[in-house]
Structures are given as C-alpha cells and as structure tokens.
Amino acid sequence: MIAGPVKKRVGWFIRYIRRYTRRPMAMIALIFMAIVVLCALLADVLASDKPVLLHLDGKLYILPAIFDDKDLVDHDNQTIVAAISERGGWAVLPPVPYGPNQTKVDGRVDWLQAPHGDHLLGTDDSGRDVLARIIHGARSSQLVGIGSIALSMLLGVLIGAFAAYFGGLPDRTALILIETLTAFPTFFLILAIQGLLGTGSLLQLVIIIGATRWTDVARVTRAEVLRVVNEDYVDAARALGLGHLRILFLHVLPGAIGPVVVSATFGVAGAILIESTLSFLGYGAPPPTASWGQLLTDAFNNEGCYWLTIFPGLALSLTVLSINLVGEGLREAVDPAD
C-alpha cells in the first residue's frame, strides 16, 4: 500500500450494526433467534435418547446419537444409566435426556403426562417428551424457513436483477412470470403441489416453498436495481468499459441488496408459518420428523392437554415474532432516511 498514515474510519457495515444494536427489542429478538438457531443446530446434543459421552466396558463413545454406534442401538439414556450402575463406567447425558421419538422410558409408556420434574413440558399421546420434540421441531422450522428463503433469494435476486438491469424483453418476461405466479394464492399452490407429489422430505418442502416464494424477492430486487441503475456511478462504470456482469454484481447489487435482505427476513417467518400449517394439515414432512405444526395437531387430537397447545404454540409464535422484529430492526438500520 502506498498510502501514508490514514485514520481508520467506520465502514457502512459497522454503522448498520451500531444502529441495529441501539434498538433493545430488536436485540432481544436477535438473541432469541440465536437461541432457536442454536437449538436447531445442536438438537441432537440437547435432546437425545443417547448420552453425549459414554465410557462403558473400556470403550469411549462420543456423541453416539450422531455417529450412530451399533453397540448402543437398542439402548437409551435410561437403560445406559442402569447399565453403568451395574458395570461401572461413566456417562454425560444431554440436558433433555429423551429422544424426539422415544416413547418408552424404562420400558414404560408415560403418555399424556402434564409437566413435571422428569418431563419439563409434559409428554404427548405416544409418551414422547414435548420439550425434546420442540427442540427437534426447531430444526424443521429453521431448515425450511432459512433454506427455502435462501433458495428464493437466489432465484429472486438473479431474476429481478437481470430483468431490471437489461430491461426490454428480459424484463417483460420476468414481469409476466412474476405476475402469473403471484396470481395464484401461494399457500394453496404449495398445498396442491405437496398433495400431488406426496409428503416427501423436508428438502422437497424447501424446494417447493423456495420456487413459489421468489416472486417477492424478485419484485423488491427489481425495484431497487432500477433505482441504483440510474445513479451516475453506474454510467461512469459503463463509460469505463466494464463488463455487464461486473457492473451488475460490483456496482449495482451492493447498493440494492439491503432492502432485499430485509424483505427476505420477513420471508423466513412466512416460510416457517407455511411449514407449520402444512404439517398441521398433514401435508408437511412425514411423521418421524418432529415439527411444530405436527405438535399442534397432537394438541388438536387431545383436548384438555394444555401443555400440548401452549408450548409448541409459544415456540412458533415467539419465533415468528422475533424474526419480524429482527427484520424491522434491519429495515430501520439500513434505512438511509435515518
């Protein structure tokens, strides 16, 4: 670098972060979201029917729930604890010592138990621990929410940006496509596709939601790119003889992406709601996968068991609320008028 001593100045990114952290509600929401995402990522460690670490008969098992040790297939935390007391050894149990699909504890099915010491949030009608299922349900929600919006961002940003930048025929084609897709009520479109394809995996849900929800992203991107393209610095880049792709990705999109990210954040909340609704209706991911929507279906089938309604419902609504608060905070942080 040939520059002399230069005082370090604050970049735009740091300024956005500072503006965001000034809002307490947005910060609380962000922390809550971080916890939910951590739950989703670490679900197998936080709530599992296998211990985190186990030393038994001179063998050390590390995270058997993830690495699928064949020796322990027929065991759960409770049988292992019993074995330890007989044969010596030690184990580190997960904070919630039940798997999401574990029905028997010590050979017993404790179904529809209200919250108490062993099952902090109670059990459902198959004897499964509600807390364990909520933690694993976060995984489905986050996977579908973030995954499908990542896909729709990819599609929407590319289509919207190319349409606005090149104009003419590409723009008209994209607009027709966007308007055609928007004309369908998205939820019923997704429901119909799920019905036709059958309830496959979570990945199928990610692809279907992503492929139908990109229109919002494309709309915002298109509008933002149209605004930025009129800036003189884009003309200056053209006058320099830079290529279209370089201009679009280096000069236009960085100035246009802020509002797109904000709207995508709200999109995550929408996708999570769609996933839960589909699961509630029985068109989500098939049963062994834990999902908040399915937990609510269980509540629907078991009247009077308040813990089946309140806890998954709280998890779902607090998550959606938090995402919306995070989105709102981001929107205000990147708002140039502020």
């Binding site: 230069v6 008209r172 003309d235 200056a236 006058a239 003889g241 000069h251």
Partner: protein, 353 residues
C-alpha cells in the same frame, strides 16, 4: 492523445444525430398513443484532436443527451457518431467497450458519480485495470500515485470513501478516474455546477491545465460562460435539441449571430456596466420538447421572428470563417442595436423586452 495520433479526420463527430425518448408511461407495449421527446434533433458537432469545445444552452435543451450520445452511453435514434474517422454508431458489446476506454465522462454531481462503497483506491485501480489488466501491484500503485498527483490530491486519500471528501475533492477523484484510462476525448457534463464558488474556480483551472498538458479533447457541457471562456477554443450553442450556432469562443462572445445566443450571453454577461447586451432577459419559457414549434424552434421567443421563421427550418450556414449559425437572417450589429435602443431611450432601461 499525442500529436502523432493526429490525422486528417476529426477526433469525434456527430452527423445529424437525433435522439427520441418515448414519453409514454406504463408497461403495456400496445396501450396509449406513442409520444416522443425529441431530445436531440439532427445535431451535428465536430471535436478535433486535443480540442476543447463548449456546449452551452438552457437546461433541458438536450446538451447532456448529445454528450452521452457522443461517447455512446446512449444509442442515437438517427444519424451517425464517428470517432477517429470510424463509425461507432452501431458498435455493440465488446467492441463498444474497447472504444469507450478512449472516451470518458465527468459528471455533474461527483457525490453520485462515485460509487459510495468504493474507496478512492478501489475506484482508481478498477479504472486502471480496465485499461491494462495485468499490471503488477507496484506499477499499479505508481500509476495511482501519478493520477492523484495530477489532480492535486494527497496519497492519504486512497483509503477513504467518497463521503469523506468535499465536493471539490470528489470532483478531483472523478477527474482522476476519467484520466485513468488515458482517454483521447472527455465529455465533462456541468463539471463545476454542483460545487461551491471556490471549488468551481479550482476545478476550472485544473481542467484547463490538464486539458492543455495532456492534449486531450474535451467537450464541456455547461451553462457557465466563465468555464467556457476559460477552457474552450470553440463553442456550440444548443436550443431545444438543435445546435443553433457554433463559433470560435472569442467571436461568439463578441459577435453572436443567432438571436438565441445573444439572449443567452445577455443573461449571463453583466460585469461590464457599458455592455449593450446587458439585462436583456429572454421572454417566456422554452417550449416543451414534446411539442416543439414548427420552423425555427426559437421563433416564439425571437424578437426578430418573421413569417418564414414559423414555417421553414433554417439551415446551418457559415456567416463568417468557422462561424455557423442556424438563422435565416444576418444581423448588422450596429444598425440592429440602435434600432433596438430606439423605443426605450435610456440604455439600461430596456430590461424587459
């Protein structure tokens, strides 16, 4: 950009170019009546190698559009653009990008012509790398240092972003960027208009010196006569899309031939209290380019308009050496000024015509 590059053909030339913009709003291709704004109307202009030419006129007369047409930021609706004797009217894609490196633009507002996310270093290195892709880091830095020196900015500017500079400094960065590709032709669109008075003077003298040192041709688009006087050897006057007069700067200022030029000069030259043209204010607004007047575009506001002005578009003709006007009439300066002074006796009393 050197003497050796000179050839018989002018560097940049517009031949009868027109630019129409569709004024119809909305998305539906078929709906509504097509209405066009004729921003540039069969305008011709020639810029020689290393020549500084001014392009003046009211706002909205199409001078910026003509400048953008010359460096092919826009494609003309009709007519031809020639660069170095080659027709570049229909150049596209990579060939056009290559040509563009020989012509650059300096914009009115450096606050928006510099990418706010790019540091000065990124801005300049990007521009240099367009020109010579495989430049070693050492040579690149040397080149950047030379550019900064040329426009009078310290090396400490490199790590900073546009918003950390004043308007004048930003315009220096924009000028450095334009010079980075070593262009042979620069279009400067109102290069000092957005600046404060001190910066205006500084940027004017910077542009004047650079133009002479580097012998780069420049088209200065402005309504600032001071700037034109400083830099330009020749001036073209534009009114409602047409070039109504071109002349060497001195002649244009002394003996303007077109009534519009006279009005334009009168509205700006007011330092000499004895100036006869002082305080002549042009009546009325320029007509809408959506619906321009027939015949001579200037006739509704022209104090000398006759019947033929309303019907026949005047042809550009050479009224003296290198002095072209697009008016049907010759005006004898002496007789004309006495005739004008007659109705209102006191010299400085004819403020409203």
């Amino acid at each position: 950009m050197t003497e050796a590059a000179k050839s018989t053909s002018p560097l940049c030339e517009a031949r009868e170019v027109s630019k129409l913009f569709s004024a119809r709003a909305g998305l539906r291709a078929g709906g509504g009546r097509a209405r066009y704004v004729r921003a540039v109307d069969r305008a011709s202009i020639v810029i020689g190698h290393g020549e500084a030419v001014g392009l003046v006129g009211e706002s909205g007369c199409g001078k910026s559009t003509l400048g953008r047409l010359l460096i092919r930021l826009e494609a003309p609706t009709a007519g031809n653009i020639l660069f170095d004797g080659k027709d570049i009217t229909h150049l596209k894609g990579g060939a056009l990008r290559l040509k563009r490196r020989e012509m650059q633009m300096i914009f009115q507002d450096p606050a928006s012509s510099l990418n706010p996310r790019f540091s000065v270093y990124s801005t300049l290195s990007e521009a240099i790398r367009v020109h010579s892709k495989r430049l070693s880091a050492r040579l690149l830095n040397a080149h950047i240092a030379a550019l900064l020196n040329m426009v009078g900015l310290p090396l400490s500017a490199l790590d900073r972003h546009p918003r950390e500079f004043s308007g004048g400094e930003r315009q220096r960065i924009a000028i450095a960027r334009a010079l980075a590709v070593e262009p042979r032709f620069i279009v400067a669109d109102e290069p000092v208009t957005s600046l404060d008075l001190t910066s205006q003077a500084q940027i004017t003298s910077l542009l004047t010196n650079l133009q002479r040192e580097l012998n780069v041709a420049i088209l200065v688009i402005t309504h600032n006569m001071e700037l034109v006087h400083h830099i330009c050897k020749r001036v073209a006057v534009m009114y409602l899309g047409r070039i109504v007069e071109t002349a060497p700067t001195e002649i244009l200022f002394k003996k303007p031939a077109h009534p519009y030029t006279r009005a334009l000069l009168a509205s700006t030259l007011s330092q000499d209290p004895d100036d006869r043209l002082k305080a002549r204010v042009l009546p009325g607004e320029p007509p809408s380019p959506l619906d321009p007047p027939k015949g001579c575009h200037f006739h509704p506001r022209c104090p000398h308009a006759q019947m033929q002005c309303k019907l026949i578009v005047p042809q550009a003709r050479e009224c003296s050496s290198n002095h072209f006007t697009m008016c049907h009439f010759d005006f004898d300066e002496e007789r004309e000024s006495t005739a004008r002074a007659a109705p209102t006796a006191p010299k400085d009393g004819d403020s409203q015509m």
